[in-house]
Amino acid sequence: MKIYIKKIYFVFTILLCSLFSCEDFLDVNENPNNPTDSEPEYLLPSSQVVFMTLHHGAYNRTASLWVQQLASSYSQYEEEDTYDVQPSFFSFEVYMTALEDAAMVVQKGVEEEDPNIEGIGRIWQAYMFSVVTDLWGDIPFTDALQGREVIQPKYDEQSEIYPAIIGMIDAGLAKLNEDADSFGSADLIYGGDVQSWVKFANSLKLRMYMRMTNVAPAVAEEGVRSVVGQALITEASENAELAFGTDPQNENPIYQWHADPSRRGDLAASRTIYTLLSQRNDPRLEAYFQRNTPAIPGADADEIIGIPNGLKQNYPAGFSIMNSNLIDDPTRPAPIITAREVYFLRAEAAVRGWSGESAAELYNSGIEAAMNAFGITDESAIANYLARPNVAFPANAGVEAQLNAIWTQKYLALFLQGVEAYSEWRRTGVPAISPARNNITGGEFPLRFLYPQTESERNSNFPGVEQITEPVWWGLNLNN
């Protein structure tokens, strides 16, 4: 029988091959729809845009609600606003998009021996990892992004991830070379400018070392001392930002949330930031929020109203949404690391005695830069503000009061940089805030993001649910 079948095979194969070449007939498995290779010049912009969309979008919103700069006015975000979140609200898509693309940039840079491709890739990837670990704590790091090599990545402890990220930054810095080719316009943040990336890397290190003050004070001190004198972001022109575009698929995420008239009233001024600003007669109150409250009939139309977080219903007096400058400009850049933040970091270093700089000057520069960033450039107005008793740097008070002043101003400066504001609040406990009303955590604060459902479903090395009320490694336990 077998021989017979073989003969048949033979006959038919001949028959078939006389009609088509057999090889050619079956040779249709080249993917006509997508390329199977690419270049760093296309991968880096993908990584930058996707990451900043997440960072300035979904991460920013949840963090801004939890750190009470924004509040949910209608019920659209009332779950987040009452800490009633589920794993399905969160996602690790950052890994498969922005982080994977950056990893590929690094790989291509190494393969093609392009030091600036590799260096910028590493620094950018390190930055993204720092944000992800700040939000989630322990995350897949050493095993992450290995594709088929490690399909069940294990989680690393944040205490080990932090030094490893700093190692990545240093490895990137070591590669940067002003004489070698770099990205051009494909680098949407710095246009491939190597010196800017050096400043970015140092500023990021400063931020990360400072983050460890609670849990590894010696490492923090040594690190801050080593980096505070290096090239840092000191001018607004050096700010790391990503500008969005005018095409609907390129718009600023916050702009998009407000583009639909029916969604315009979803997010309002939180009473917490409102109170801190109005107590200081802060010109930024008007820069951050609008006076009118169009959606609520009968409300006072000429007030800025901050509403309590977690209200779960309409506030009778109405509410204020963000200032039109912030929500009606589709191209408005998303800040990444800015001079104003670096001023406050340096001020803190100075207060702690880790640098020889003047804390008061840096503090004032930080506030001024923050005002400028939101369009307040009237120098006398700024000077008046800086002279207010509850604003002026308490040069004669103790370290604690000075740090409090710096952290409070940093909180006010980091509006719409919810992720960083949230991280700094978790590190410092400043400003003191009260848990949202109607919270479902028994009055405990959310101190981290939940691991996404895809991880618990798909990763056998998933370490188990960490409740949002658990602090991350470097964070204070604000729930004690």
Binding site: Y4, I5, I8, F12, L16, C22, L26, D27, V28, N29, N33, P35, T36, S38, Y42, L43, P45, S46, V49, V50, T53, L54, A58, Y74, S75, Q76, S88, F92, Y95, M96, L99, D101, A103, A144, I151, Q152, P153, S185, A186, G245, D247, Q249, N250, P253, Q256, A259, D260, S262, R263, G265, Q313, G442, G443, T454, E455, E457, R458, N459, S460, F462
Partner: protein, 1032 residues
């Protein structure tokens, strides 16, 4: 020359001499059904080897030896008759169709008709008549409850909605689990294409096999196991549904058959709503999308502002949703012409289906033209062609699921005190436009349902041609060459409109066109040899060659921000995010062979083998081979038991393998255009302000794929007793699929979402039992009962190394040791003895802890129970379909609870509840005593898996037909004949369900491997109508 003459003379003399001792008997054999002559009936003189076969007119002439006086008339599908002829020389016989043995001839691979007794595997036939009792237009749904081992979910009340069918359980981890559909020998496409983008999630367009018109179907043969299907190759691992279409009768007269019906549909089941509390929150009235407000009649509801801003008294609206649904109407009209001669036959059919759905402004129409014609070109050469053209057109099918225009989603959040009919005027009139634009909404976040249905329509337009030609050359009567070429080509276009004023991102209007061009071309060249080797042995050998080309092209264009409102054209939008233009090609070459040896028509053994070369496997390793063997023994004939209580008994056994290749382009990782969501805004994508970007694709390709292999065996018996009044057909089967080609979902932390690999092993085992009983059979009255029972046990045996589980969707996973589609998830925190652990901070139980088995979608058993009763001109047919066991996930129910809409949420409104459970303290467990409001209690369940899981059991009155054949005397002088009137009903009743709100058979995922998952589905319908059939 002389010598030849001599031989002739001698032969003639011998014959003449024989004749002296014989006599000639002649006559005509006719069918009791239509009185027509029956060709091919075997007429045998009992006790001799003498036998003849009737001619085309049913006439016969036979020499009966002296001493013999009994003739046996036998024909497949008819009850054999023995007749003592006495001295008669003319014997006319009327053969009666044998209902029991109608399935005696079955259609197996490549449309080859085989005697069922010869098969070593299970094949079950459903005749066209039984298929089409209730004029169901989806041929898959028409099979429900009629075939043991076939599990069919029709997934919602969406017009033309998809049905999902599996045979003997799901065997492929993430690949296709549905059987191959073959029409007149040519495989057709049964895909349900749904695009990858979120915007397309809400629609549920039907599966492609639904284009086969049940009216054109002569019979459906279900080849259940791989043995039956092995010759079809790769895609047959899940079984094959072989559809044979009707052909013309060999009757010179032109026959015309007309079949018309009209039926009406209403929702089979609507949620049981509460009608005691109004819109509001925390017992207070407010304009909110929940019903936790004050009790009706209380002062808090008098003279308050409603959503329109008018001051009114808020009252209960118990029928607000019921009244929203309309009565759907379905007209199905079918006419066919047929006729033929000895050398040619033809049948032309036209069917028109025109229906409206239960959702306002939804409709579907279908035109189906079919021509099937055969021609005998020459004594040895014949040809046949069949072609169908099917045009499906729907202006609006309605959408479901999480889509903003999904009515079920809107209703989950619709307060009980809102009168939906007040929304009928769905536009704001000039001068009163509010912030939401031109749409008149009752609340900001939800569309007006009438706006959704009248403005945001989802239409479908499919043009399809299915056709094949067959040439047959039969040089000698034992050898046959057949060449067949066929194609299934269609273009399926879906059009979704979003009017200005829709939800983001379509507040300025938008649309998408999603088009699929699919073609599948198959050729087969088959040679068959059928020879009696000697008196006892017959050999049947088949060899064949098969080529298949499959192309699928998807064109997707979305436009946003219309320039001129109301014009949904690509030239009229400002933006076009992420167009898709993808082509998928796949080719396959196979050679196959089959040999069947039979001994005295009592013992049968057979073997098949096939080798395929596939374009989708690695080039150097793209060939795979798979064999099968089967055998059957007719015990009753072997042991000569005929005439005893047992009329027929057969045992059978088979073993088979079927290989399966991969989908195209899985061998390498690709780069794609980046897209990232920004809820509730638009997706952010590239080019980004002029800068191009690409991202590493989500799936990791694998250049070392090997084909997946399904191995299966089955044993079975077919026994009939008491003059065929009782028939039992029993099968036990086992199948195991290994090296499954899956895109395994992997954690995103790997940098990807899936990885293509050969992973895992799934086994299915089970029993099928068909029981057919004729409790009563008289001349006027016959009662026929059929049970189709199936119990399948499914288990995931293993997955790839390092992989604990694979996510399927909706929380279902594949996990070794558990059935396919198990919800292996965190559940309620419980103590060791099962008490709920209550969180002292909230007074509520919490989801957490270890993941565990919360149940699976697999039913314990399926039972179809059909009764048909005929009495004089009346016929009554009732089919119950019972599915027992398994779970289904309904987020709809828990959203309704969250929003306080359904009747169970009346609990805990006036007085707080104390959830039964314990609180863990340092001193041990203490009974919970913390009161919580009903509102908080019912809100805790939303989107949680364990509280959303319900028993998936149901019993449905699937089909009902009460027909009456008008006595021909009433219209004997007219040209009409066979006039039948009937009342027809489908899904008239449902019972035995685990919750009162939702039909557990619906599945929002449609024809997807993740079944029994429901979120925002359009209710299934109950249909009742009348049917008229006549011929002339």
């Amino acid at each position: 020359m002389n010598r030849i003459l001599l031989i002739c003379f001698v032969l003639m003399s011998a014959l003449m001499g024989e004749a002296l001792a014989q006599r000639t008997v002649s006559g005509k054999v006719t069918s009791s059904a239509d009185g027509e002559g029956l060709p091919g009936v075997t007429v045998q003189v009992i006790g001799t080897n003498t036998g003849v076969v009737t001619d085309l007119g049913g006439n016969y002439r036979i020499q009966v030896p002296e001493g013999s006086s009994t003739l046996e008339f036998s024909f497949v599908g008819f009850t054999s008759q023995r007749i003592n002829i006495g001295n008669r020389s003319v014997v006319d016989v009327v053969l009666r169709e044998d209902i029991q043995s109608l399935e005696e001839v079955v259609v197996t691979a490549f449309g080859i008709e085989r005697e069922k007794r010869a098969l070593g595997y299970s094949v079950q036939e459903v005749e066209g008549e039984n298929l089409n009792r209730t004029n169901e237009s989806n041929v898959i749904n028409a099979l429900q409850g009629k075939v043991a081992g076939v599990n069919i979910n029709n997934t919602s009340g969406t017009l033309g909605g998809p049905s999902y069918v599996t045979i003997r359980g799901a065997s492929s981890a993430l690949g296709n689990n549905q059987p191959l559909f073959v029409v007149d020998g040519i495989p057709i496409d049964n895909s349900t294409y749904r695009g990858p983008l979120n915007v397309r999630d809400g629609a549920a367009p039907g599966n492609a096999a639904a284009d086969i018109n049940p009216n054109d179907v002569e019979s459906i043969n279900v080849l259940k196991g791989p043995t039956a299907a092995a010759l079809y190759g790769s895609r047959a691992a899940n079984g094959v549904i072989v559809i044979t279409t009707k052909k013309g009768r060999k009757d010179k007269r032109l026959g015309v058959d007309v079949n018309s019906s009209v039926s009406f549909s209403r929702p089979l089941r609507l949620p049981k709503y509460q009608n005691e509390y109004a819109q509001g929150y925390g017992g207070a009235y407010s304009i909110i999308d929940e019903s936790w407000g004050p009790r009706y009649g209380s002062d808090a509801l008098q003279g308050v502002e409603d959503w329109k801003g008018e001051t009114v008294n808020i009252t209960a609206q118990p029928d607000n949703i019921r009244d929203f649904y309309e009565t759907g109407v379905n007209y199905t009209n079918s006419v066919s012409l047929n006729g033929g001669t000895d050398v040619a036959d033809y049948r032309f059919g036209y069917t028109n289906v025109s229906e409206t759905g239960i959702l306002p402004n939804t409709d579907l129409s279908k035109h189906n033209f079919t021509l099937n014609a055969g021609l005998k070109l020459h004594e040895k050469v014949s040809t046949r062609a069949s072609v169908s053209y099917v045009k499906t057109n729907a202006d609006n099918l309605g959408v479901q699921g999480q889509n903003g225009s999904s009515i079920p989603l809107q209703f989950m959040w619709l307060p009980r005190s809102i009168n939906v009919s007040q929304l009928r005027d769905y536009r704001n009139h000039e001068g009163t436009q509010d912030a939401t634009g031109t749409q008149r909404r009752w609340i900001n976040y939800f569309e007006n349902p009438y706006f959704s249905l009248y403005e945001n329509t989802f239409g479908q337009n499919r043009d399809r041609v299915i056709g094949n030609v067959t040439f047959n050359y039969k040089p000698v009567d034992w050898l046959d060459f057949t060449f067949r070429a066929g194609t299934d080509t269609y273009s399926d276009r879906r059009t979704q409109k979003f009017a200005v004023g829709s939800d983001a991102p379509y507040s300025q209007g938008g649309f998408y066109n999603d088009q699929y061009n699919v073609s599948e071309t198959t050729t087969d060249f088959i040679a068959t040899l059928n020879r009696d080797l000697n008196e006892d042995f017959n050999l049947n050998v088949l060899v064949g060659h098969n080529m298949r080309i499959r192309n699928m092209e998807n064109l997707f264009l979305e436009g946003r921000n219309l320039i001129a409102p109301g014009i949904y054209n690509a030239s009229n939008a400002l933006n076009y995010p992420a167009p898709v233009n993808d082509l998928f090609q796949k080719r396959l070459v196979g050679v196959y062979g089959e040999a069947q040896l039979s001994w005295r028509d009592i013992v049968f053994v057979g073997a098949t083998a096939r080798n395929d070369w596939s374009s989708t496997l690695p080039k150097n390793d793209n060939s795979f081979f798979y064999p099968s063997v089967n055998g059957a023994v007719v015990i009753t004939d072997l042991l000569n038991l005929s005439g005893s209580v047992v009329d027929f008994g057969k045992i059978r056994a088979s073993w088979a393998q079927v290989g399966n290749d991969a989908d195209p382009y899985l061998l390498s990782t690709v780069y794609e255009r980046p897209i990232i969501g920004n809820f509730p805004g638009t997706d952010i994508s590239f080019p980004f302000a002029g800068t191009p970007g690409v991202t590493v694709g989500d799936n990791i390709g694998n250049a070392e794929l090997v084909p997946e292999i399904t191995s299966s065996w089955e044993i079975g018996a077919d026994v009939r007793f008491l003059k065929n009044r009782i028939g039992i057909d029993f099968t036990y089967y086992y199948s195991n699929t290994r090296d499954q080609i899956v895109n395994v979902s992997i954690p995103q932390s790997t940098g990807f979402t899936s990885y293509t690999l050969n992973a895992g092993e799934i086994e299915n085992k089970g029993i099928e039992l068909m029981l057919n009983v004729v409790p009563v059979r008289t001349d006027n009255f016959e009662w026929n009962t059929t049970f189709n029972f199936n119990r399948n046990r499914n288990k995931v045996v293993a997955l790839a190394e390092g992989l604990d589980q694979i996510a399927l969707g909706g929380g279902q996973v594949l996990r070794p040791g558990y059935p396919y589609g198990t919800w292996y998830q965190q559940g309620w925190n419980r103590t060791a003895n099962g008490d709920l652990i209550i969180n002292p901070a909230t007074g509520l139980p919490a989801i957490g802890g270890e993941q565990k088995d919360l149940g699976s979608a697999q039913p314990d058993f399926n039972l179809g129970f059909q009764n048909s009763i005929s009495y004089k001109g009346f016929d009554l047919s009732i089919l119950f379909d019972w599915r027992q066991g398994g779970k289904f996930l309904s987020y709809t129910n828990t959203v309704y609870q969250y929003a306080g809409q359904t009747e169970e949420t009346l609990l805990g409104r006036e007085e707080d509840l104390i959830v039964e459970g314990v609180i863990l303290t340092e001193g041990g467990e203490v009974a919970n005593n913390i009161p919580v409001s009903g509102q908080r209690f019912w809100k805790a369940n939303i989107f949680q898996i364990e509280p959303s899981l319900y028993d998936a059991s149901f019993i449905k009155l699937r089909e009902l037909r009460l027909g009456y054949s008008l006595p021909s005397a009433w219209y004997g002088r007219t040209p009409f004949s066979n006039i039948q009137l009937a009342i027809i009903g489908r899904n008239l009743w449902i019972g035995n369900t685990g919750q009162p709100h939702i039909d557990p058979e619906v599945s929002t995922y449609g024809a997807d491997n993740a079944q029994n998952i429901e979120y925002g589905s359009i209710p299934s319908t109950r249909n009742l109508g009348v049917n008229l059939r006549f011929s002339f």
